[in-house]
């Protein structure tokens, strides 16, 4: 195994992670809601009465983040390899899969592991596993 020292950012990633954890703690303690992006979005795709507003205000904050960031620092240029067809297929799989599995990296990965949920541990192991396998397939077997 070789470490990509040029891109490895231990301190900013740890600090960013701490913000993510603080946001999750804030939402559960202040409002009693679980910070899972796919769950919050999914509840808007099929909205129920009286259950949409908190989702919308949370998402408004989330979507305001790049503009808030730009007030203080220059945005980093994302590195995107996937073309249009791959992005479409990947989006469909992520949308369907996170709804079927009741969560994504935030709901299962961050919140689920934080509250030591066996279900979330199983889910995280599953999506990490196919994530590793898919990248290996795409970058090392098919490329």
């Amino acid at each position: 195994m070789t470490i990509d020292w040029n891109h490895f950012t231990p301190w900013t990633s740890l600090a960013g992670g701490a913000l993510i954890g603080a946001a999750s703690a804030l939402l559960i303690l202040a409002s009693g809601r679980l910070l899972g992006i796919s769950g919050i979005l999914g509840g808007l795709v099929a909205p129920r009465r009286g259950d949409a507003l908190w989702r919308l205000t949370f998402l408004a904050g989330l979507l305001a983040a790049p503009a808030a960031w730009a007030l203080f620092a220059a945005p980093a240029e994302p590195r995107i390899e996937a073309g249009g067809a791959v992005l479409l297929a990947a989006g469909l799989l992520v949308g369907w899969g996170t709804r079927h599995g009741s969560g994504c990296t935030s709901g299962h990965g961050v919140c689920g592991l934080s509250r030591r949920s066996p279900r979330s541990l199983a889910a995280t192991a599953a999506f990490m596993g196919t994530g590793f396998a898919t990248v290996y397939l795409v970058r090392h077997l098919l490329a």
């Binding site: 992670g17 992006i37 979005l41 205000t57 009741s102 935030s106 934080s114 279900r119 999506f127």
Partner: protein, 145 residues
């Protein structure tokens, strides 16, 4: 007050994603590529996030009610079932193909990245498709998590 807390949580979460580098799919794929030049950053994001959030959830479990009123909605401890595993396996394939998961995709789309917007629209279509297929199949109501 609830609306302010929710907006703040979303903003803080989004800033955390940007600071950690997770809105860059190259960084996510760099973590998932164990056989290539490996970028361990994502593990540090998880460590930072879980290291802070675990205290919040421990407190939430003891309190039962939210600071601003209302119940704390923690998912019930249901068994690990086929649906959870299959859904997560499928999610991982999509994640590995593009390097986007739902949160970073939304933030990158809001930052004006066209690829992220395309991914997000497809993701919403996938969610809608799931809603239609499971409602017609009936029975298994999704447990929000």
């Amino acid at each position: 007050m609830n609306r302010i807390a929710e907006f703040a949580a979303g903003l803080l979460f989004g800033l955390g994603l940007i600071l950690s580098g997770m809105t860059d799919p190259g960084k996510v794929l760099g973590f998932l590529d164990l056989a290539g030049a490996w970028d361990p950053s994502l593990a540090f994001v998880m460590a930072g996030a879980v290291g802070v959030a675990c205290f919040g959830f421990a407190l939430a479990r003891r309190r039962g009610t939210a600071l601003l009123g209302g119940a704390i909605a923690l998912p019930p401890a249901t068994p690990i079932d086929r649906r959870l595993v299959v859904g997560s396996l499928v999610f991982g394939v999509g994640w590995g193909l593009a390097g986007f998961c739902p949160g970073p995709a939304l933030v990158a789309a809001a930052a004006g990245t066209d690829e992220a917007l395309l991914f997000t629209l497809a993701m919403l279509a996938g969610m809608a498709a799931h809603g239609i297929t499971t409602e017609s199949a009936a029975g298994s109501a999704p447990v929000p998590e």
